[in-house]
C-alpha cells in the first residue's frame, strides 16, 4: 500500500514535447521498467498543436480530455512553462483527472489563487506547484526525483523542498528505513495540497508505520499541521524545519520561504511541533537517525 500513486497509476505528461518534460517522462518510464515491473508508467503526452505525434513512443494529444479518453490516463504530470502552467492545471482538473502533479517553478501567485479557488468544489488533488513530485518506491515515480535513492518500506515522507527531500530519503534508506510514498508538496506560497491532507492519507494508509515532515520558514502550515496531528495522528511523527539561520524579510529561494512580521520562523515552528508531540531535530544531518530513534531502531 501507499498513497496517491502506485502501479495502477497511468501518467499523462503535459508539456511532454518540451526539453524538461521529454527528459523526465523518459526518466519516469525508465523507473517504471527497472523498479515497478512496467506499472506506474507514462501513457500519454499533451501539447496543444502537436496532437498525433509521438514523443519517445508515447502518443501526444492536443487536449487532456482527449488523452485521458484514449489512453485511460488517470494522473497528470505538468512541465509547462510558468506563464501557462496554471492553465494546464485547470485543464487537467476540468478533464476530471483525480491527481495533478505540477513541477513548474515560478508560476505567478495570483494564477494559483485563482486555480485554488477553482478547485475548491471538486475532488481533484493537486500536488505542487514548484515541487519534485510524488514517488511510491517500487510502484510509481511521478516527478523529477532520482528514483534509485528510494527504497520500499514503511515511512511516509512529506516535504516542501526538492533536494532536501532527497537528503531525508537518503538518510532514511541509510538507516534501513524504506518509504511507502514520498511527497514533495512544493515551496510556493499557494500550493494545492498541504501537510494536513497528506498526514490524513498516511494515517489511513495501513502500510505506513511512521511519518516524517520537512518544513521551511514562512507561513504557518507546519504549526497548523502539528496541532492537527496532535488530535488526529496516532503514528510516530518526526519533523525538521529548514531556515533556522534565515534573516527576516528575505525570500530564501522559494517564493514562500520568507519570515514576515515575526511569523513563520524556524524556532516558532519547531517549538509548536515539539509541543504537539512531534520528534523534532535541529540538525538536518539527523533526520533519518531521529526517525530510527522514534521507532526504537537506533
Amino acid at each position: 500500500m501507499s498513497i496517491l500513486v502506485d502501479k495502477e497509476t497511468r501518467i499523462l505528461v503535459q508539456g511532454i514535447t518540451g526539453r524538461e518534460g521529454g527528459f523526465h517522462a523518459g526518466q519516469c518510464q525508465k523507473y517504471s521498467r527497472e523498479f515497478a515491473g512496467g506499472g506506474g508508467a507514462v501513457v500519454a503526452g499533451v501539447t496543444p498543436g502537436k496532437g498525433g505525434q509521438e514523443a519517445d513512443g508515447v502518443p501526444v494529444f492536443n487536449t487532456v480530455a482527449e488523452a485521458a479518453r484514449e489512453t485511460g490516463a488517470n494522473a497528470s504530470l505538468i512541465f509547462v512553462p510558468p506563464p501557462f502552467a496554471a492553465d494546464a492545471v485547470v485543464e487537467s482538473v476540468d478533464a476530471g483527472l483525480p491527481l495533478v502533479v505540477c513541477i513548474t517553478e515560478g508560476i505567478p501567485v495570483r494564477d494559483m489563487v485563482y486555480v485554488k479557488r477553482h478547485m475548491e468544489e471538486g475532488e481533484a488533488v493537486l500536488i505542487g506547484p514548484n515541487c519534485p513530485g510524488v514517488i511510491t518506491p517500487g510502484g510509481c515515480k511521478m516527478g523529477i526525483m532520482p528514483g534509485h535513492i528510494h527504497k520500499e518500506g514503511t515511512i511516509g515522507v512529506i516535504s516542501k523542498s526538492g533536494t532536501l527531500t532527497y537528503e531525508v530519503v537518503a538518510q532514511l534508506t541509510e538507516q534501513g528505513l524504506g518509504q511507502t510514498t514520498c511527497v514533495g508538496i512544493g515551496g510556493d506560497p499557494i500550493i494545492g495540497t498541504m501537510y494536513i491532507d497528506l498526514l490524513r492519507m498516511f494515517e489511513e494508509d495501513p502500510a505506513t508505520e511512521a511519518i516524517i515532515m520537512i518544513g521551511e520558514i514562512g507561513g504557518t502550515a507546519e504549526q497548523d499541521a502539528a496541532r492537527w496531528a496532535k488530535e488526529n495522528v496516532t503514528k510516530p511523527l518526526v519533523g525538521f524545519i529548514a531556515g533556522q539561520t534565515a534573516p527576516p524579510g528575505r525570500r530564501m529561494g522559494h517564493a514562500g520561504a520568507i519570515i514576515s512580521g515575526g511569523e513563520g520562523t524556524a524556532a516558532e515552528k519547531m517549538r509548536v511541533m515539539s509541543e504537539c508531540g512531534i520528534h523534532v531535530t535541529e540538525s538536518p544531518a539527523e533526520m533519518g537517525l531521529t526517525m530510527a530513534r522514534a521507532l526504537g531502531k537506533a
Binding site: 524538461e20 510558468p82 506563464p83 508560476i107 505567478p108 501567485v109 495570483r110 494559483m112 489563487v113 485563482y114 485554488k116 479557488r117 519534485p132 523529477i144 526525483m145 532520482p146 535513492i149 516535504s159 516542501k160 523542498s161 526538492g162 533536494t163 532536501l164 527531500t165 532527497y166 537528503e167 537518503a170 515551496g187 506560497p189 499557494i190 520537512i214 521551511e216 520558514i217 507561513g219 504557518t220 502550515a221 497548523d224 525538521f240 529548514a242 531556515g243 533556522q244 539561520t245 534565515a246 534573516p247 528575505r250 525570500r251 530564501m252 529561494g253 522559494h254 517564493a255 514562500g256 520561504a257 512580521g261 515575526g262 524556524a266 535541529e282 540538525s283 538536518p284 544531518a285 539527523e286
Partner: protein, 386 residues
C-alpha cells in the same frame, strides 16, 4: 520586488486611489520648483526602500518653496539610517515633495495573501501610523481582517465592511469604499504581493488619502508588467545580489564567513543551519538551481569569492537533475580561472556521484571531500580554525 514610495503613489493614482499631489526631485532646485507648483506647505520625503524614514531625519515639513529647497538639500545625499536599513544606512538620491495634509485621523489599510486559506485579505485598523504587527499582537480586536473571494473580487458590501470598520463618518463612507475597491483592483491586476497604506488619512477638509504607500510585487509575475519591472532600483540592492540575478542565481548575502553553494532552496537553508550548528556562520544563501550548467557554477563561484568576508567554501550538492559530474567540472574550471585562496569543502551525493568524485580527484586541486552533512560541516569549521 520592492519599489519606492513615489513609484507606488504614481501607480496607485492610475487606479483611482487617492494620493496627495506631489512630484519627485533629484536636486534641491527641482524640489523648490515642485513646491512652488503645489503651493502651500509641503512635505519633503527621502526615497529609500526602508521604513522609519521620519525618525532618521529623512522627512521634513516646509512652509515655503525656499524651505523645501533647503530641506531637500539636507536630505539629498545623506546616508539615512533607520531600523530597517542596518547600521550602514542608505544613500538618499531622490526626494518626493508632496502637499502637506491637514490630518484629522490616521488609519491603516493593507492587502495581503492569507496563505492558509489561499485568499487575499483586506486588513484595516483605526490605529494608523503605528507598526501594524504590534497592533496585531497587542490589540488584535483593533485589526479587522476581511477575506476576499478571488472569484468575486471586492464587491461593494465587502468594501463597506472595511469602511465602516474604519469608523469613517457617514459622508466619507462612499469615498472610503471607492478607495478600498480601487486598491484591491490594483493589488489584483498588478500582481502585487503586498499593498500597505500606513497611514491612510482622513483630512480635516473631508478627504481620504494614502499618505504613505508600501507596495511589493510578485517577482514571478514581473514578465507581464514591464512598467513595474522597469522600476527596479539596483542601488537599493546588494551589488553581489544584483550580479547573481544576472545569471539566474538565487543569492542572498549574509554576514558570516562560510560561503555556501547548494542546489535547491530547502537544502541550501539546511546547509546554512548545519554550518551554524557546527559553530560557524554562513556568508550567504546560494541556490544554483536544479538545472545548473558548468557556466552557472563558475559564475556562482566568482560571486562567492567577491565577498571579502569569506574564509571557506562549502559546496553541498544532492544530484537529482543537476548531475554531480557537471557540478564537479564547473567547480574545477572555476577554481582554475577564479583566484581562490580559501579552503573548499565539497559534499556530493546522488546522480553520477562517482564520476563527480573522479573529476575532483583527477584535477590535482586541493579539495576536502566531506562524507554527509555533519562531517562536512565539521571539516568546514576545522578548516576555518586552521
Amino acid at each position: 520586488m520592492n519599489i519606492h514610495e513615489y513609484q507606488g503613489k504614481e501607480l496607485l493614482a492610475k487606479y483611482g486611489v487617492a494620493v496627495p499631489g506631489g512630484g519627485v526631485a533629484e536636486t534641491a532646485e527641482e524640489a523648490e520648483r515642485i513646491a512652488k507648483e503645489l503651493g502651500g506647505t509641503v512635505v519633503v520625503k527621502a526615497q529609500i526602500h526602508a521604513g522609519g524614514r521620519g525618525k532618521g531625519g529623512g522627512v521634513k515639513l516646509a512652509a515655503t518653496p525656499a524651505e523645501a529647497k533647503e530641506a531637500a538639500s539636507q536630505i539629498l545625499g545623506m546616508t539615512l539610517v533607520t531600523h530597517q536599513t542596518g547600521p550602514e544606512g542608505r544613500l538618499v538620491k531622490k526626494v518626493w515633495v508632496e502637499e502637506a495634509s491637514d490630518i484629522e485621523r490616521e488609519l491603516y489599510l493593507g492587502i495581503v495573501l492569507d496563505r492558509a486559506t489561499g485568499r487575499p485579505t483586506v486588513m484595516a485598523s483605526t490605529e494608523g501610523g503605528m507598526d501594524i504587527e504590534e497592533v496585531a499582537e497587542k490589540t488584535p480586536e483593533k485589526l479587522l481582517k476581511v477575506p476576499v473571494d478571488p472569484a468575486l473580487s471586492v464587491w461593494p458590501s465587502t468594501a463597506r465592511r472595511v469602511a465602516y470598520g474604519l469608523d469613517l463618518p457617514a459622508d466619507l463612507v462612499r469615498e472610503g469604499t471607492k478607495f478600498v475597491t480601487n486598491l484591491y483592483r490594483f493589488y489584483d491586476e498588478m500582481d502585487a504581493s503586498l499593498v500597505e497604506i500606513n497611514p491612510l488619512v482622513q483630512t480635516k477638509d473631508g478627504r481620504i488619502l494614502a499618505l504613505d504607500a508600501k507596495v511589493n510585487f510578485d517577482d514571478n509575475a514581473l514578465y507581464r508588467h514591464e512598467e513595474v519591472a522597469a522600476m527596479r532600483d539596483e542601488d537599493e540592492e546588494d551589488p553581489l545580489e544584483v550580479e547573481a540575478s544576472k545569471f539566474n542565481l538565487n543569492y542572498i548575502k549574509l554576514d558570516g564567513s562560510v560561503a555556501c553553494m547548494v542546489n535547491g532552496a530547502g537544502l541550501a537553508m539546511a546547509t546554512m543551519d548545519i554550518i551554524k550548528l557546527a559553530g560557524a556562520a554562513p556568508a550567504n544563501f546560494l541556490d544554483v538551481g536544479g538545472g545548473a550548467s558548468k557556466e552557472m557554477v563558475e559564475n556562482a563561484f566568482r560571486i562567492l569569492m567577491d565577498d571579502p568576508d569569506v574564509k571557506a567554501v562549502f559546496i553541498n550538492i544532492f544530484g537529482g537533475i543537476l548531475r554531480c559530474d557537471i557540478l564537479a567540472e564547473g567547480v574545477v574550471q572555476a577554481v582554475k580561472t577564479v583566484n581562490v585562496n580559501v579552503p573548499i569543502i565539497i559534499r556530493m551525493e546522488g546522480t553520477n556521484v562517482e564520476k563527480g568524485r573522479e573529476i575532483l580527484e583527477g584535477s590535482g586541486l586541493d579539495f576536502t571531500v566531506g562524507n554527509g552533512m555533519a562531517d562536512s560541516a565539521e571539516k568546514v569549521v576545522a578548516a576555518l580554525n586552521r
